[in-house]
Subunit: 459 residues, 2 copies
């Protein structure tokens, strides 16, 4: 488009080699981990400073050229696909940890820093950043998707862990939302508005995030059950009794089979499992473990294995983190239709049971895993992308599960976000509130240049 | 104004006796607890249902008549003063606890329910609602001001404790924000946008809030120090070492004098104190107490008193909750110039020291109290409202403290909100972000009828 090529000519003057129109780079930025149809951006920019992001946005605004911010492209609903073309803004060169304030338990980082890079930088401080999606995502991408992880049941999601942001808005203005104070009543909560906005309201150029002290003791275990319902009921009781679990993850027998095959020297019985972690003082952890053991025993637990040696601990959680790839490897050539419902904890058991029943009925393979302490779980239905029948059956299951979650006062997406994949559910989930979201989008991005076509349908 | 009287005539048809234009009722609704100049509303409405609120808003919208939502009017910055006249919407008749979901640890309430009414309704459930501002405020008012309390250091403020809302927007549309799921990535976070919006973006007609299990053991204590800095340093070290304090409140020697005078059989040494509470299992609490005692001993604690009998426990916290009135009673006829800064915990000591020095310099009386675990503390400078000199001196102190908080990356209001009193600081605190807030206000309330003149200056 003419408008875009004018923008790109101006951007080239600004960025030189840090603007790429090469085919392979554009292809890399044409998709994320979802099976959404790829679309190539006209160009990819690699800004290095907030000021530069602001200038880029001003040029794009002048020409009405779309801008899609990009972290590392691990999102799962087509979030980063530039469906209207234009510019992809790859944030990887803004990857410095700017400040660590150990006394205030916070850190200031650029958006291209990944969660492991931040934790690496924290190594000698005794502090940790806790949000850990399976992928080694960027802080900007995680904030933009309101991501969560295995620790969120205890330490919160990005919603609770972002204190303040620096953002470039649709006209290139640089703003700061929030302060380093732990709470504030000073006006509208812009921080939470940008968290989860998937690049549609502004470009995040800096984040102030919460840190936690590393617990004195961490104890991890795996727990096997014959029946998945027993595993789920154990989770429900643990949460309802206020046990401060640091991690409580469900891995069903299908996913266990996948993990055993994918990870070297991994050999758990092919049964539904919970992967657990307890944080606290030595006595505190011992007390939690006893309480949880009682709960699990009440629910016919078969096997309790500790993974407390650093090696075993690492192996366990790295297996959990690569569950997605382990699942995909279970059926070669297959793609995964991924669901992400999150429901009130009391609705967890019926929703999981219904999902398992439908998968069986359809004769498909799908692991069930999830951050079940939050009421959140995923199917990853493995389908042959060339089989329209399988694809239809999988989407059918996903669809009925999403509807079930809404019926139980839950959400269709607990952590992955809307992108384009979940757009069709927004009306059912939000009703008239969707009109308010659209009004906000129009007010903050009147030209609709920031990741257009995502999150909120505009008409 | 003609517009308003037409609106009021139509409202009378709708509400009958539940619309009042009587002088004394209008006077009651002309002010809150701040020393802002009172303004009478043209009428006060007492709606009973969401549907009715929606119809009221539609009538007001048609005539461009301002609407000021009203809980119990305990806010401290002129929030509820109807500075442009119009209708005050008193929510007291919408005061039912609609649903308690013990299994999901949440409750659904109408906005006129007060925090003690909710806890009364929870009495037999083993659950508690934790946000406890000094006043027995309404849930709607607390959400609208993003209130916090003595427990927020452990259980969060209204920001963390509101899961979902029902809201009537400026054109009378009824929307729901959020679900009962614990987390979600489904679009813009409208819940957090309405929390803290002080009635300027919509009328809250229903809230879904988090509950917590009552801890097995609660242990409360008072701790006296010779030097206020030792008290503050103890707080800082406790927070930095991750001690999960349930409550940690600073009460300086001036406020102690006030409490001793105001509360029957209250007789603490006139020194800076910390009021503390520990929650957990019996062993867990014992461990926390030992750790805190070590910290306090390192900081020259003089006296450690337990208040574990139910009576003593109640007396302690009710004294803390009425600190505001106890302070006012210290100087008859005086009004309080109240500050509400909140800073990163490392900046707490210098800010408190500076505040105390300036009070002494000015020769004024002002207690210092606060939810110091959050980095939040208040002055309540007692001035003769007729002395322009004293008033100027007090505002001067407040002003320099606000500026100091901003310099330390803090906020001018940790919990009270903006109202009209803190409006002058919004530009300094938010800079260009204030433009985004104004754009949101304009988009969501294009006629500027919802609590006009508060939170965001519109030009
Ligand atoms: C194996 C695997 C496991 C996963 N596990 C989890 C999990 O446990 N929990 C979870 O929540 N998610 C999970 N995900 C999804 C994904 O990792 C998260 O959504 C993650 O937050 C995306 O980060 P990213 O850096 O890859 O962002 P991208 O995919 O590059 O971008 C995601 C969205 O954020 C926007 N964005 C990126 N950077 C910025 C910025 N600086 N400013 C504004 N907008 C920006 C993009 O425009 C896009 O809309 C998983 C994905 C995979 C592949
Ligand atoms: C003695 C004393 C102690 C206090 N201690 C604390 C404290 O510890 N922590 C703290 O945070 N605050 C404290 N405050 C301030 C005050 O109690 C809080 O701000 C409280 O949240 C106000 O609630 P309310 O019901 O009185 O609301 P109101 O004062 O009636 O209204 C407050 C604001 O909310 C809006 N509002 C009210 N209801 C609704 C609704 N349903 N929908 C939309 N908007 C609405 C109003 O328009 C107004 O802008 C204290 C005040 C006093 C007098």
């Amino acid at each position: 488009m003419v408008g875009h090529s004018e923008a790109i000519a101006e951007l080239r003057d600004l960025l030189g080699e840090r603007l790429s129109t090469g085919q392979s780079i554009r292809e890399t930025h044409s998709h994320d981990e979802a099976y959404t149809t790829p679309v190539l951006p006209d160009a990819v920019a690699f800004p290095e400073t907030t000021q530069e992001v602001s200038e880029i946005v001003k040029i794009c605004a002048k020409h009405g050229c779309p801008i899609v911010p990009y972290g590392v492209g691990t999102s799962l609903e087509g979030h980063v696909v530039p469906i209207k073309g234009g510019l992809t803004l790859n944030m990887m060169r803004m990857n410095r940890v700017l400040d660590i304030h150990p006394d205030d338990l916070d850190a200031v980082v650029q958006p291209g820093v990944t969660r492991t890079e931040l934790n690496e930088a924290l190594r000698d401080t005794g502090l940790m950043f806790t949000v850990d999606p399976g992928a080694d995502a960027t802080m900007g991408g995680m904030a933009a998707t309101r991501a969560s992880g295995t620790n969120s049941v205890r330490y919160g999601t990005m919603r609770e862990n972002v204190l303040a942001l620096e953002v470039v808005t649709a006209d290139g203005t640089i703003i700061r939302t929030g302060t380093r104070a732990r709470k504030s009543s000073a006006g509208y909560d812009l921080t939470h508005l940008f968290v989860g906005s998937e690049g549609t309201l502004g470009i995040i150029t800096e984040l102030t995030v919460r840190l936690f002290g590393r617990p004195e003791t961490m104890s991890a275990a795996t727990c096997a059950f014959e029946q998945i319902d027993d595993a789920v009921q154990s989770v429900i009781v643990a949460i309802q009794s206020g046990l401060p679990m640091a991690r409580i993850e469900l891995i069903d027998e299908v996913q266990i089979r996948g993990l055993n095959a994918y990870n070297e020297a991994f050999d758990l019985p092919e049964m539904p499992h919970l992967f657990l972690e307890f944080h606290g003082s030595p006595n505190g952890v011992a007390e939690q473990v006893d309480l949880f053991r009682d709960i699990a025993n009440d629910h016919n637990v078969i096997d309790f294995q500790w993974a407390d040696m650093p090696e075993a601990h690492k192996k366990l959680w790295s297996a959990r983190h690569n569950a997605y790839y382990a699942a995909r490897a279970m059926r070669s050539g297959a793609v995964g239709v991924v669901t992400d419902v999150c429901v009130p904890i009391s609705a967890l058991a019926p929703c999981i049971a219904e999902a398992k029943a439908r998968i069986a009925q359809a004769g498909l393979i799908s692991p069930v895993v999830g951050h079940v302490g939050d009421g959140n779980f995923h199917l990853q239905i493995l389908v042959d992308p060339k089989s329209t029948e399988e694809m239809a059956a999988a989407k059918n299951i996903a669809n009925s599960l999403n509807e079930l979650a809404l019926k139980h006062s839950g959400t269709v997406t607990g952590e992955h976000g809307v992108g384009v994949g979940k757009l069709p559910y927004m009306a059912a989930e939000h009703g008239a509130a969707l009109g308010v979201m659209a009004a906000i989008k129009r007010a903050m991005d009147p030209q609709n240049i920031l990741n257009p076509g995502k999150v909120v349908p505009l008409n």
